[in-house]
Amino acid sequence: MNSETEYIAEGRIFHGFVPHAMGTKLDLLAVGTEAAAAEALWTAFCAELSALEAALNRFDPRSEVARFNASESKAGFPLSPAVQRLLDLSREFWFRTEGLFDVTRGHGMDLEEAGATLDFGGIAKGYALALLRDRLAGTGIASAFVNFGDSAILGLGTHPYGDCWKVSLPNPYGGSQVAEFSLKDRALSVSGNTPGYTGHIIDPRTGRANVERKLVAVTGPDPLEAEVLSTALMLADKGQRLRLRRAFPDCESEIYTV
């Protein structure tokens, strides 16, 4: 996996950048760290991210998920511990979101059902962020900002000159910004459509793509929960929204029509 790093000695800031991962890019800004420690953390994380992508990329026929999707007998397919863990987490989220979050693409987590295939696209980035968060904690880095493709963001501790990390959400259709978020040990997940990329969130109940000019932003301590909830809220009706917010009490969410 290609990556670039730089170290700003003044301020002891490490910046790592992966230009291509899971269809997008990733930036890490770690504050108050020695260069060597940050490099070691970064190298290990990149290897982990690379392995995760190799396993989950359903468009790569060699990937574990693609091979699983192509297999005749899914029950007998030996899943790796990482993918099995993701599948278990996804099952839990499917239940908590009343089926709105469904990695089996509308098959209700029933992998034996004909046509059921796995797609971890709605959870993989959040999962990777959680892995990186744990590594940062393990290295004793308390302040860091991670941006995984703009839609999955993690602010740990504080900006070196502030009391949190501040992020704003521009309107992808142009015009003024939609919202601003202050992150301190919180993740932000944004779901929605853009002028150039619409219809990528599929409603598992109908199989239809959501094409609304809508953005959902969710913040919460857990990047996985935030990512799952933002996707589910894109599809939820009014009643479901109320219940979803109760099911994810640690998260704050907002829906914007743009």
Partner: protein, 440 residues
């Protein structure tokens, strides 16, 4: 009178004043030195003086100028001239107080006329311009400068040796959105300019109705080589001027292809042209015009390594937009001790999609853009402002810097483009047509 106060001039004053505020007067005049002769302060100095101007060539473009002149308080249209009675009558109906001529030489004998506006077919531009300057008139002539390279040189030399003001209607130089965009480019908005792409597509035969067959070549002069350089001089001259304005340089090599592809109606000029101009440093202007398909419309794209400006639409696009560069902003913040929100959140960023380009307007508020379909002119495209500046020069006698030079450069490039297409070879910019203004 109240009506006139709302006209071109208030727009001009406001325009230059605002540009001055935005950039500091000095910066304004360094990227657009021709505006130095028409600042609001200088306009105020002329008081109630009026330029007595005459219009030679009263066809559709001439009549367009009449409408603009009506909104210029310091202009008085006192004479009209045309050899074609129908056009002369139509113009006279618009301003009955003006004296009518059929021979421009008689018109030039009128000592009370300060300046002439020439809107004739192209082949007459040089002769009438030279005669008018010789008669002591200030001259405003339609683009392009002249039909031939030698005529361009003759006009340029005459201009060097006269104290009269001379303008060619390079209206983009007086169009607010162009001026602002070129300033943004020179301020580094789009990084290094790496290339330029201009095109003008229409779907129309470019013909005017001819009441009687013997008038065909005169009325449809644009279609015949004796009078016209075709698409290059009629459309390309504006767009190539913008390119040399932005580049501050002149290309050294010219090659192209052209032909009559669709409108095979006896015309002589190409209805499809594609000319490549290369600068000495390797950069290219790609120029294209076709009048049997209008899908691509009219665009003047300045391509920079960090962004693109479409001058004709008054918008720019950045290669790395806010959505993408939030992390860079954050890095700058932590390096410089600033704490602010970074605009980086959004639905998932995806690489290399053209649609990620977001248009940013170069000016605040509403402004007019042309779709390029009209063959007469477009409202508020700078034609009114440059004409107002000319009328001001008729009173002050002050020349507009660089306008003639820019017109010379673009017209020579158009004519060389035609030559390259006709001869089917790559031309090197000829020594004999270089002028000191040109940098290569």
């Amino acid at each position: 009178m109240e009506e006139k106060k709302k006209g071109v001039d208030l727009g001009l004053r406001k325009f230059i004043k605002e540009l001055g505020y935005m950039t500091g007067g000095a910066a304004l005049l360094s990227t657009t030195p021709w505006l130095a002769s028409c600042t609001p302060e200088k306009l105020a100095e002329i008081g109630n003086a009026k330029a007595r101007v005459a219009l030679i060539g009263t066809g559709s473009r001439g009549q367009y100028h009449i409408h603009n002149l009506r909104n210029i308080p310091h202009a008085e249209l006192v004479a009209l001239c045309d050899v074609y009675p129908a056009n002369l009558e139509a113009a006279a109906a618009l301003c009955p107080e003006a004296k009518c001529y059929t021979d421009y030489r008689r018109l030039l004998e009128d000592k009370s006329i300060d300046g002439v506006i020439i809107a004739t077919p192209l082949h007459l531009h040089a002769r009438i311009t030279l005669d008018a300057l010789a008669a002591g008139k200030h001259v405003f002539c339609e683009k392009a400068m002249a039909r031939t390279l030698d005529d361009c040189k003759a006009v340029y030399e005459a201009y060097r040796n006269t104290d009269r003001a001379l303008y060619f209607c390079m209206q983009r130089m007086y169009d607010e959105k162009y001026v602002k965009a070129v300033q943004l480019i020179s301020s580094g908005l789009i990084g290094d300019v790496v290339g330029m792409r201009c095109h003008w597509f229409r779907n129309a035969d470019w013909r005017r109705e001819v009441p009687s067959p013997e008038l065909e070549r005169h009325i449809n002069w644009r279609l015949y080589k004796e009078y016209s350089g075709g698409l290059m001089t009629e459309l390309g001259s504006h767009q190539l001027e913008v390119c040399t304005w932005v580049a501050g340089k002149i290309p050294t090599r010219i090659a192209g292809f052209g032909d009559i592809v669709y409108w095979k109606d006896g015309r002589e000029v190409y209805d499809s042209v594609n000319v490549t101009y290369q600068f000495a440093d390797g950069r290219i202007i790609s120029y294209e015009s076709l009048i049997s398909n209008k899908y691509n419309g009219m665009e003047e794209q300045i391509l920079g390594h960090a962004g693109t400006v479409d001058l004709s639409k008054g918008v720019y696009y950045l290669e790395e937009d806010n959505l993408v560069s939030g992390m860079r902003q954050l890095l700058e913040q932590v390096k410089t001790g600033v704490f602010a929100a970074v605009p980086t959140a959004g639905p998932s960023w995806r690489p290399e999609l053209r649609a990620k380009y977001v248009p940013h307007p170069v000016l605040e508020g509403k402004f007019s853009i042309s779709d390029g379909e009209s063959s007469v002119g477009f409202v508020a495209d700078g034609s009114d402002v440059i004409l107002s500046a000319f009328c001001q020069s008729c009173i002050t006698g002050e020349k507009a810097k660089d306008v003639v030079e820019e017109a010379y450069c673009s017209t020579v490039l158009c004519l060389l483009g035609n030559q390259a297409m006709e001869e089917g070879r790559t031309l090197t910019f000829p020594e004999e047509y270089k002028i000191p203004y040109m940098k290569f």
